[in-house]
């Protein structure tokens, strides 16, 4: 996991609130082996030729384009059921150090460089409307991240009747967090809640938590931004490490809601 220093504050405005495209993770620094962004649109989008509307450029400190990054995306359209969230993968073959595409073409991101993900205004919504507002997301590439998330280093920062705030040991995939982290109450009861991860903290709100003992249960398939899961690192070479055993048991972090 890369350090949290230099990340956007949790309280910054949601860039999707004005009807523009919201990009997750919205953080300012991603690891150089970052794998994917989630693009949240205000309404369902036109589909079929989306990659002509997306490009990644390297920029300088003033935001001027240095060069377009060639062939950065794994060109498979991945939508959620609303067709408002698209998962945009960087090509894994270029992001894995030492594999052939990484060697042939080079990595997509280089540590220390700045980039901008741009969405063309020509990309219309399903109803034919134009997108509004900011259609670009600037970020920088930090160090490579090949360290798996480690929930034993997570901190429960605030456990109140209104919810729980958790500080993980580094940035996580925001959508993976929503799927893989849950709260189990007294008697093994799964609780209903909304999970929000804004780069630094996981906030889980929803069911009123009555005083008692709870567990934060983390599925080992939880991934960070570079695809490292608790179960296994993304760049695992099973030929070199034949004895590697994938972690399959969930990790539990107990906490208490005081009287």
């Amino acid at each position: 996991m890369i350090p949290l220093l230099g990340w956007a504050s949790d309280g910054r405005p949601d860039p999707g609130e004005d009807g523009s495209v919201r990009v997750e993770p919205g953080v300012e620094i991603v690891p150089a082996n970052h794998l994917k962004f989630y693009l949240h649109f205000p309404e369902p989008m036109e589909r079929g030729v989306v990659f002509r509307h997306l490009r990644l450029v390297e920029i300088d400190g003033d935001g001027k384009v240095v060069a377009e990054v060639p062939e950065p995306f794994r060109e498979v359209e991945l939508w959620d059921e609303t067709f408002q969230r698209m998962t945009l993968w960087f090509h894994p073959g270029r992001q894995k150090p030492g594999v052939n595409l990484n060697v042939d073409i080079g990595p997509i991101l280089e540590e220390g460089n700045r980039y901008r993900l741009e969405v063309s205004p020509d990309w219309k919504t399903e109803s034919g409307a134009e997108l509004k507002g900011e259609l670009a997301h600037a970020f920088a590439a930090g160090p490579y991240d090949e360290v798996q998330p480690d929930p034993s280093r997570w901190k429960i920062e605030g456990a109140k009747s209104t919810g729980v705030t958790v500080v993980p040991d580094g940035p996580l995939d925001p959508e993976s967090v929503k799927k893989r982290v849950r709260i189990v109450g007294p008697g093994g009861r799964n609780l209903e809640y909304t999970t929000d991860f804004s780069g630094k903290r996981i906030r889980m709100t929803g069911s009123a938590l009555t005083p008692g003992r709870y567990r934060l249960v983390v599925d080992p398939r939880l991934e960070d931004l570079a695809g490292n899961s608790i179960a296994r690192p993304f760049n695992l070479d099973l030929e070199a490490d034949r004895d590697f055993e994938e972690r399959t048991e969930p990790i539990e972090i107990p906490f208490e809601i005081p009287e």
Partner: protein, 381 residues
């Protein structure tokens, strides 16, 4: 030349898709619905036996099997159809359409398209007949079943990368939007409403990457039988071809694929099929390069591989030792049975009509991705 018995069994199973004598498509359904079919979206399509059309509906995370009633007789496309997008749009009553997928019905020769209307993304399924006429498939009263893809491990993999009929079942490859994961679903006949799919997680050795990929998604596949075992043979980006045994496994099993052929990096597979010519059995996959057009006039190109490569099972012929395409020998003796198929340059979609012929949706201008496409019948080499 002796033809491997397993290859014979496999080709026979493919031909069965279009030749289920005495049965109509609905006979594979349990409690079919006869009205009210509405697609929320239209994704990948494929044909099962006797005019059974399989349609993935990613928005509802399901696969719909429709008895089209289109069971023949066979009439092959009589002419090349230029600017098929305009013809499809007119038939759909739409300003424009974007083609999602194409599948020829081997029983009748009609060519089916799943398309999204523009604007609005309304899904349509349209059929192109031998004389070039196009009609929308009437779904309202079509006998059908809808099978929801199971929610597994707290995730529903609604993104279907490919689907096919094989061994009296629907086989579906799906991938996760959020994590680097894939699933193979198998839905056995009789097809019924509800969740009755078995599923498997798969990982395989990526020869080009020289290591085990974690859970890379399968881009296209075909069902395959070898020595009584049921496999799927799948192709991945970059482009290993691997086989996965799914015959008698418990649902939820993690399976490890065996890479048998490597076509080279920088390719994304699109379709797969097999055929026999002059006593030789071939597996064909058409792919899309995302690097330079190194192999010919288009980024869309195809390779054919001698089927005997799929029988590889020893360590010295699989995974890191799998056969690799020689980019310096596109055809001929030096290609050693892994060859470029010249007649499939520019093929965006390829769907097999019979052993000798395929239907191709082809680029008409390799420099202009907005140029309309043409549909034609192509005889295999």
């Amino acid at each position: 030349m002796k033809i491997p018995s397993s290859a014979i069994a496999f080709v026979a199973s493919i031909l069965l898709v279009g030749n289920a004598a005495g049965k109509d498509a609905a006979s594979w359904f349990e409690n079919p619905q006869s009205s009210g079919l509405e697609l929320k979206s239209a994704g990948k399509i494929a044909f099962g036996p006797a005019g059974m059309l399989l349609i993935s509906d990613p928005r509802s995370a399901s696969v719909v099997a429709v008895d089209t009633g289109d069971a023949g007789p066979l009439e092959k496309l009589s002419k090349r159809i230029d600017d098929v997008e305009s013809a499809l749009a007119e038939a759909a009553g739409a300003e424009e359409v974007a083609i999602v997928d194409m599948a020829v019905n081997p029983a009748s020769g009609k060519i089916y398209f799943s398309v999204n209307e523009r604007p609005g993304n309304r899904p349509h399924v349209l059929a192109l007949a031998a004389d070039g006429s196009i009609e929308a498939l009437e779904l309202d009263d079509a006998p059908h079943v809808r099978v929801t893809l199971p929610t597994t491990e707290n995730a529903q993999l609604r993104n279907v990368t490919d689907l096919a009929w094989g061994k009296d079942s629907v086989v579906v490859a799906g991938q996760s939007s959020e994590e680097f994961a894939n699933k193979i679903y198998q839905i056995p006949a009789p097809l019924t409403h509800g969740e009755n799919a078995r599923f498997f997680s798969a990982e395989t050795y990526h020869v080009a990457h020289n290591r085990w990929e974690t859970k890379a998604p399968i881009q296209s596949f075909i069902p395959w039988e070898e020595k009584g075992q049921f496999y799927i043979v799948g192709a991945f980006a970059c482009t290993p071809i691997a086989k996965f045994p799914i015959g008698d496994l418990e649902s939820g099993t993690k399976i490890k694929g065996t890479s048998v052929v490597e076509l080279g990096s920088g390719n994304r597979p699109r379709d797969m099929f097999t055929y026999e010519k002059d006593g030789e059995q071939w597996l064909v996959t058409n792919t899309q390069r995302f690097k330079d057009n190194l192999f010919g006039p288009s980024k869309y190109w195809a390779a054919r591989v001698k089927l005997k490569y799929l029988e590889a099972d020893k360590p010295d012929e699989t995974n890191e030792n799998a056969a690799r395409r020689d980019v310096k020998a596109p055809t001929g003796r030096d290609a050693k049975g892994i060859e470029v198929v010249e007649s499939l340059f520019g093929a965006v979609f390829v769907s097999q009509l019979d052993n000798d012929e395929v239907i191709v949706l082809r680029e008409t201008d390799t420099e202009n991705e907005d140029a309309p496409h043409a549909v034609e019948l192509v005889t295999l080499p």
